[in-house]
Subunit: 221 residues, 2 copies
Amino acid sequence: MSEQVDLKLYGYWRSSATYRVRIALNLKALPYEYVPISLVADGGQHKTAEYQNINPSMLVPTFVDTDKDITLYQSLAIIEYLDEKYASGTQLMPKHTLDRARVRMYAQDIACDVQPLANSGVIKKSQTLFNANDEQTAAWSRYWISKGFTALSKKLAGRSGEYCYGYDITLVDVCLVPQVYNAERLGINMDEFPLLQKINRNCLTLDAFKDASPERQVDAK
Amino acid sequence: MSEQVDLKLYGYWRSSATYRVRIALNLKALPYEYVPISLVADGGQHKTAEYQNINPSMLVPTFVDTDKDITLYQSLAIIEYLDEKYASGTQLMPKHTLDRARVRMYAQDIACDVQPLANSGVIKKSQTLFNANDEQTAAWSRYWISKGFTALSKKLAGRSGEYCYGYDITLVDVCLVPQVYNAERLGINMDEFPLLQKINRNCLTLDAFKDASPERQVDAK
């Protein structure tokens, strides 16, 4: 218990990008210190000068290896780094170039085309700039998630097994589970996406995914 | 001239994700056939059943290797695939794990946090769902680009040389130049981002970047 932990993850319990990295750290069996950065308390702790020094983008998560003085942002970049750097636990990226490309593209289908449009910062900006009300912003988020899940379901139909890309857990699953969590919060019926729902449930039987869930974090409200 | 070209790129001249892949194909010295998919003509050629068969996400670009029957989407995944698969031309990803992570994270700063929010599909949806007018959507796009460029300028200050990540061209430059093109179209004054402006200009002295520019494409209007 007095073992020193060099890896730190600054994040927020409901941030799906943070959720991804928690899953990946668990799958890689890497102990880490979780440092909560509330996106709502104190007007947003991600906007403080102190946090801006760590991450000029004022976004979570930020990953820090205090021993090596390494600071990394962007969940997908962090996860590929962990996977390349540490042989421990689950290998999240496949070995073959083409498999790796496909895993990246499905992960980016979520991380570039869905999550950026349905996160809290974007919703807030649409409220101030477009005077969007809560009903409209919820419809906006549901639209992008449903569009993304419809396309992803078609794409994975010929690729998936127990998990998104065959029978091994990959970066795609690490991105899928937090996005399904968000979808369900927004009232999307996952019965409409049976393949994604099945994979999500398969993942959530595993401790690495369960322990990373928002509700299990120290900053969960 | 009768040489068979196996690589195809479905794209649109003004799509910045397509622009990225054009730059990468040029830097890798890979000949390819460019297949224009207009996002505006005929109500959007990306929505046709024929194109949906190629790309269920109805987005550009799509990369196809007709000889190997490989279809890939997502510009960053395509570019890393090209870089891993082909030793020709410029190596776009660094060799060291930490350098590679940083290049990915800066590229994702653009590809996940800026471009997804300021593209034509998102603008159209904000018009229909939020009744946003042209002035508001232009302000929206400028906000996300300026926010992203401000953070990226700080992050690259200690990393850049002639290009974003030191003195070799990387994936970050491939993402930066199309984003600056979009920024300038939206009336953002790049004098506010002198580091990014300098790097953009350095890139645009090179044929690989110049030949990939929107105005040089067969579908440019």
